[in-house]
């Protein structure tokens, strides 16, 4: 039988801010930008949450709901630093660690009883170690599946530990609202409410065949989840398994729509750099470069180009995406612009006859830039063309140097981030 821990840092961004500014403690704090700015809430303190503020909510809405809230811009490098600290503790606890995002992780502790003792004692020990190393609170759920561990850590919040005894999973889940189940979003919730299902127990009481008829594959997955199983692709793959992304992308929404070519192209430079950095972190080379444009009226276009070789160089990605942009852009005001790469290969493959030396120089320069960013943060160095577009790194964007699964063989120092929001793993 498996033993899985899910560790989730409590109000991570806010708590880190509190370490640097203790006067924020206990107050309603909103991280992500200033009141009234365009953009969304990255995190809210528990005090702010009482007013209905939650992450992903527009900053303006948050300001309205909680006028006395303290708005903080957020410091990605601090979160990254603390995420690394957490990761180090986890790594010292068990090698089978998978960071699911900057502030949560799954650990596989199956068979670790002789080392760490019974599950509850092990969880307490881990909880203490995290606190000693970071001065931050976390919550830990322990169970036989990832799904139940995740739900348990949520129930244990704040600053708690909860172990679901083997065999008790369905009983534990039954009284919970169905949206507590990972993978049940607004739409599924609405559809389930429509057939009178509001609690996980209601769902577990339904016939699998009925759910499959009504919801297809999703229905089957729901039936499994209601019993506490890792069903339906949400938790495919073993913890600690490195899986490469199928695509990497970065996009930016302008705080004000713009039709200035120089601003748009500068942003493309910046985004190409971010994409190139991710590619190099994964030791991948991309053959397809794609541009995404969203105009003020929300009409959205993508244009892709497949190269005759694979690349990991910012300048090449920029060259191609800029060409796509110059061809596709109507001149209208742009709301969002994005750079996306895919068709990955492990090696650069075909070597260049004409650009060999140039590429080698770029390759060296960019890996030096990567090392500088590792030490001094993402915005410490950039292509000159991108300087016009320096935007504050958004805290809700998962940083490139997120600690995670085992680094790929042949890679240098940087750890490989796990599946991230903008990296579709195709599952």
């Amino acid at each position: 039988m498996k033993l899985i821990f899910h560790l989730d840092m409590d109000a991570f961004f806010v708590s880190v801010e509190e370490l640097f500014n203790p006067s924020l403690k206990g107050k309603p704090v909103v991280v992500g930008g200033q009141r009234g700015q365009r953009g969304v809430v990255s995190a809210a303190s528990y005090a702010a949450r009482r007013f209905g503020v939650h992450s992903a909510m527009p900053l303006r809405t948050a300001g309205r709901l909680c006028p006395q809230a303290i708005f903080v811009d957020g410091h990605p490098h601090r979160y990254r630093e603390y995420s690394h600290k957490v990761y180090e503790v986890l790594q010292s606890f068990t090698p089978l660690v998978e960071m699911a995002s900057i502030d949560e992780a799954y650990l596989d502790l199956t068979g670790a009883g002789r080392l760490h003792g019974p599950p509850l004692r092990a969880a307490h020990e881990l909880h203490n170690r995290i606190h000693r190393a970071t001065n931050l609170n976390c919550s830990i759920g322990a169970a036989t599946s990832r799904l139940v561990a995740k739900v348990a850590s949520d129930q244990a919040k704040p600053n708690g530990v909860l172990w679901i005894l083997p065999g008790q999973e369905a009983k534990f889940l039954a009284p919970l609202e169905i949206r507590k189940i990972p993978g049940v979003g607004k739409v599924t919730e609405k559809n389930l409410h429509a057939i009178g299902v509001t609690r996980v127990g209601d769902l577990a009481g339904l016939e699998e065949t009925f759910l499959e008829r009504r919801f297809g594959k999703l229905g089957l997955a729901l039936a499994g989840k209601a019993r506490g199983l890792d069903a339906g692709g949400w938790f495919d793959g073993e913890i600690g398994d490195a899986s490469d992304p199928k695509s990497i992308s970065h996009e930016h929404t302008f705080s004000e729509d713009t039709a200035e070519a120089i601003v748009l192209e500068a942003m493309l430079a910046r985004l190409s750099e971010m994409v190139g950095r991710r590619l190099r972190e994964h030791a991948l080379h991309a053959r397809t470069v794609q541009l995404k444009l969203r105009y003020s009226d929300f009409s959205t276009f993508t244009r892709a180009h497949t190269l005759d070789h694979a690349t990991k160089l910012d300048n090449e990605i920029l060259d191609h995406v800029r060409r796509l942009f110059r061809k596709a852009w109507t001149g209208a005001a742009v709301r969002l612009i994005g750079v996306h790469v895919s068709s990955f290969e492990d090696s650069e493959g075909q070597l260049s006859l004409l650009d060999g030396e140039k590429n080698a120089r770029w390759s060296k320069a960019l890996s030096a830039a990567d090392r500088i960013r590792d030490r001094f943060g993402e915005s410490s160095i950039s292509l000159a063309g991108g300087l016009k577009s320096t935007f504050r790194e958004r805290v809700h964007e998962n940083p490139a140097s997120l600690p995670g699964k085992t680094p790929r063989p042949g890679k240098n120092d940087a750890a490989v981030p796990p599946a991230e929001r903008s990296e579709s793993s195709g599952k």
Partner: protein, 371 residues
């Protein structure tokens, strides 16, 4: 306009102009061929604004004049007619009537007023046999880049020297260079131009139809290149931009060399390439004392290896190559024996025809793949 031509003449000349006619154009008249009847000839003109062709055939002109007709539809129809005279009449309202035997067809045309004028021909700079030109094209055209963004590589460099002519094409991964040392009459000063791939394809067709012995008159001005082959004239816009300094990437020396039978190595690579990754086409070429081995494997499909005996006593070297790049040269080179020069897995390899009595130079430089 009213004239009569034989079906075979009309089909031949229409076919030759077909490659130039724009398929998916936003300018409708470019899908048409311009027909001009005067004296005892019918002249056909087609253009896509980059490339233009003018050819002609004997005709019995009853009423001189001009009109344009849809090139594709006209050829498709005339091709199906019996071998006989075709009588064509284009009326004022631009409708054409075609009569051949018992067949009678009406076809909507467009006024010649809107048909773009071809640039006027400048003086002849050089003359060369069609066979020489087309064989140089055949040895380089496959190395031209299809990557639109590298537009200076979307054609070949054509270089006239005091003695001889050079053609070079590259896509940035491999480079093909052929130099003919034959005296080119008319060349008084060095001349260089970038010739688009589409023009090269059309020259191949025209040269094949005219025969290897017929002479090609070549001219060029600021923006255009002219090739006159017999009665037919091809006009191409020059590619602008700087072709890379190709001499810089030609290897100066090669530590290792093996001689191979062209057909043996070609069929070996063709077979092994069946098990190469479809996208990259990578095969491994391993040279060891006494043999050259080609190997490829696909984890889910299988693997394949061939061994070709060679005279070689150097150290073992293994290099990855795109099989297609190797085959392109092996299919283009006319000589039965080839030499393969190589250094290491990251340096350019080179293929050449073997033999001391070659009257021309043919060098094919290929960068390896990292695998």
């Amino acid at each position: 306009m009213e004239f009569t031509v034989t079906k075979s003449d009309l089909v031949r000349e229409l076919s030759l102009s077909q490659g130039v006619v724009e398929r998916k154009t936003t300018i409708p008249i470019l899908s048409n061929v311009l027909l001009e009847a005067d004296g005892d000839r019918l002249t056909l003109t087609a253009t896509d604004l980059e490339l233009g062709i003018r050819c002609s055939c004997p005709a019995r002109v009853e009423k001189p004049g001009a009109g344009t007709l849809p090139a594709r539809k006209l050829l498709d129809y005339v091709r199906l007619l019996p071998d006989a005279d075709v009588q064509v009449k284009v009326s004022e309202n631009q409708w054409a009537t075609l009569v051949c035997g018992r067949s009678r067809t009406r076809l909507a045309g467009m006024s010649r007023e809107n048909f773009p004028e071809l640039p006027s021909v400048s003086q002849t700079r050089a003359e060369m046999p069609a066979g020489v030109l087309s064989s140089m094209i055949g040895k380089t055209i496959f190395a031209i880049s299809n990557e639109e963004s590298r537009f200076t590589l979307n054609g070949a460099l054509l270089l006239f020297r005091h003695k001889g002519m050079v053609m070079v094409a590259t896509d940035g991964h491999r480079l093909s260079m052929v130099e003919s040392a034959e005296e080119i009459p008319g060349i008084t000063e060095p001349y260089r131009a970038l010739l688009p791939k589409k023009a090269m394809q059309e020259i191949l067709k025209l040269a094949q139809d005219a025969g290897a012995e017929s002479m090609v008159k070549f001219g060029g001005d600021e923006n255009h290149l002219f090739f006159q082959i017999g009665e037919r004239l091809l006009i191409s816009r020059k590619l602008t931009g700087n072709f890379p300094d190709y001499e810089r990437v030609l290897p100066k020396e090669h530590p290792h060399t093996v001689e191979l039978s062209r057909d043996d190595i070609r069929s070996a690579i063709e077979r092994v390439a069946q098990f190469a990754d479809e996208r990259s086409g990578a095969v491994r070429i391993q040279v060891c004392p006494g043999e050259l081995k080609i190997h490829s494997s696909l984890s889910e499909t299988g693997e394949s290896e061939e061994s070709v005996p060679v005279e070689y006593d150097g150290g073992e070297v293994e290099i990855g190559f795109n099989a297609q790049y190797m085959l392109d040269f092996l299919r283009a080179v006319p000589e039965n024996q080839v030499v393969f020069h190589f250094k290491d897995p990251v340096s350019a390899g080179e293929l050449r025809p073997a033999g001391n009595e070659l009257t021309y130079t043919y060098r094919y430089i290929v960068m390896p793949m990292r695998i």
